[in-house]
Symmetry: C2
Subunit: 329 residues, 2 copies
Amino acid sequence: MREVAEAASVSVATVSLVVNNKPDARIGAETRQRVRDAIRTLGYRPNALAKNLVSGGSRFIGLVTDAIATTPFAGQIIHGAQDEAWKHGYVLLIANIENNEDAEREAISMMLEHQVRGVLYSTWYHRAADVPAPLRETDVVLVNCYSPAADVRAVVPAEAQGGRTATELLLREGHRRIAIINTTTPSPAHDGRLRGYREALEAAGIEYDPALVFDAQPDQEGGYAVVEKVLAQSPTGVFCHNDRVAMGLYDGLRERGISVPRDLAVVGFDNQEVIAAHLRPPLTTVALPHYELGAAGVRVLLGVGEAPGAGRLEIECPAVVRSSVGPAL
Amino acid sequence: MREVAEAASVSVATVSLVVNNKPDARIGAETRQRVRDAIRTLGYRPNALAKNLVSGGSRFIGLVTDAIATTPFAGQIIHGAQDEAWKHGYVLLIANIENNEDAEREAISMMLEHQVRGVLYSTWYHRAADVPAPLRETDVVLVNCYSPAADVRAVVPAEAQGGRTATELLLREGHRRIAIINTTTPSPAHDGRLRGYREALEAAGIEYDPALVFDAQPDQEGGYAVVEKVLAQSPTGVFCHNDRVAMGLYDGLRERGISVPRDLAVVGFDNQEVIAAHLRPPLTTVALPHYELGAAGVRVLLGVGEAPGAGRLEIECPAVVRSSVGPAL
DNA sequence: ACAGGATGCTAAAGCGTTTGAACAAATGGG
DNA sequence: CCCATTTGTTCAAACGCTTTAGCATCCTGT
């Protein structure tokens, strides 16, 4: 900067004013141009570190995740957070801590030392989570998880609405006998989606029948294993807890010569692209809005747009219609 | 820091020396303890920004990717890079530029302004890439792509070795008539894997038969569409260009009552977990080492461990054995 | 011709660290 | 008992930038 100042024969103060385009800075047009030229010819770049130092805070937002690796979802959260942060002039500082206490402590320290504007703490599946104590030193927003004590702002998928949407996908094609294959473990996903299912049925004036509710491991094997029992109840539509379960269901159905969607309509959940889009027929499902979770997390942190003072902000799970739901016979 | 200094009644210089544990600093044990206590009770954290300012450079490594969103792979690259960076005391600054020129320029500016130690420029599939001019201002390592001019260090998957490995997976079970379903578009993957296939055959003393080489769109539809033609050549094993092709192949085979691996052995490529692990039977495949690409990228950038002065460092593609390859009849 | 207000620019302090030189006190050797 | 070390600690400059107060000029109207 000093070099630029010298080249343009002005003071560094002037250069600063020009670089930052200060609205109320009175700089002559000619001088301004001279500085601009000097900047160009010298290839000057401001030093963000120094800038942040003097301004007190930085333009960093920390993102700590518990598993970038194990799931394709985390990528989406990062992506959403990064886009939104970018939009507001912030940069993402990421750290992932594969359930490693020390790594977590270190990561958080690092972020605090870099004077982050705040931290997004995200998990790869929707669950309760404790906020590590040191994070209290800064702004925190939980993403895809929530504090049981509800004392920290959180952004989570709207499981119940998702369950409702999934069920409505079947209802609106005339299905009245709709099974749900839920997961075995209690969780926001388990409870919320079931609740949505029941709400949708009720709204359609259909009585809830516990016999149509099945539990299965939330993966392909689970879906495959439960086929017989599901068919025994002769539903015309099935809402699967996730796409992998639907994948297993497909396998079982195929073996029995049962055609999707002609003989049985199937709806998944998660919208795991590689699975849902490539099954035959392509799977109609409900998406977990990971990108939006990341983006909304940043918005909440920055206090722009929708903002729950505390408590959870629920992000809609949109329907993704493909070809696995047809009209009820 | 000043507060700590006052609390411990020493100078800030002393505090600095204690905090950084300077090896050749002569500080009395008692003073040292006093400072430590003050730090603890005041909850002092050093300001990384200031530290970096004075030290000249920062502990940032930039990672720019062309698509975090669209693929589960990018997550792995990030993860590998982040772990390795961490290990050396660096933090990742990420930016992704969904083929948006402006975003790219901005992202790079941002990184340079933050005085990054260097930048990893990564693509989501292995290809040639031009290094954006401004990146020349800093250290760059290409990850999963390479500069045609070979003037920039690059880390890429060893496609040929991967093709060889895939083929050997079949050879060692006694298969002699092995088909390859390659992709239609020329690319490092196309050429390298085919080369590996030929090398493996040659090493096994099997003559290369062009009739066993098929081209197909590199997705499920492609694999499904080519089944008939492949079967017409009655191979006992098939090496698919990727797992999605294998997925399509599975579909076609199932329709024809052909059992994997009993009637036909199948090997995929990419090791796309959600697909490969969940197909029935689970797919034996060769993994693209995305995690390692990220990690190796950082090592090359930092000049630790294996380091090609220039040119490409090839990372091994390991076999992932599941159940889709059985002995040849 | 001159007060008063714009206009254009700069000086200098400060942001939180690091670091080499400098200083003071204690110790050891002869 | 004095000089030379060693030991413990501080001074002050520097890092690259922002920002406020202030100093010159130059207009404008009277």
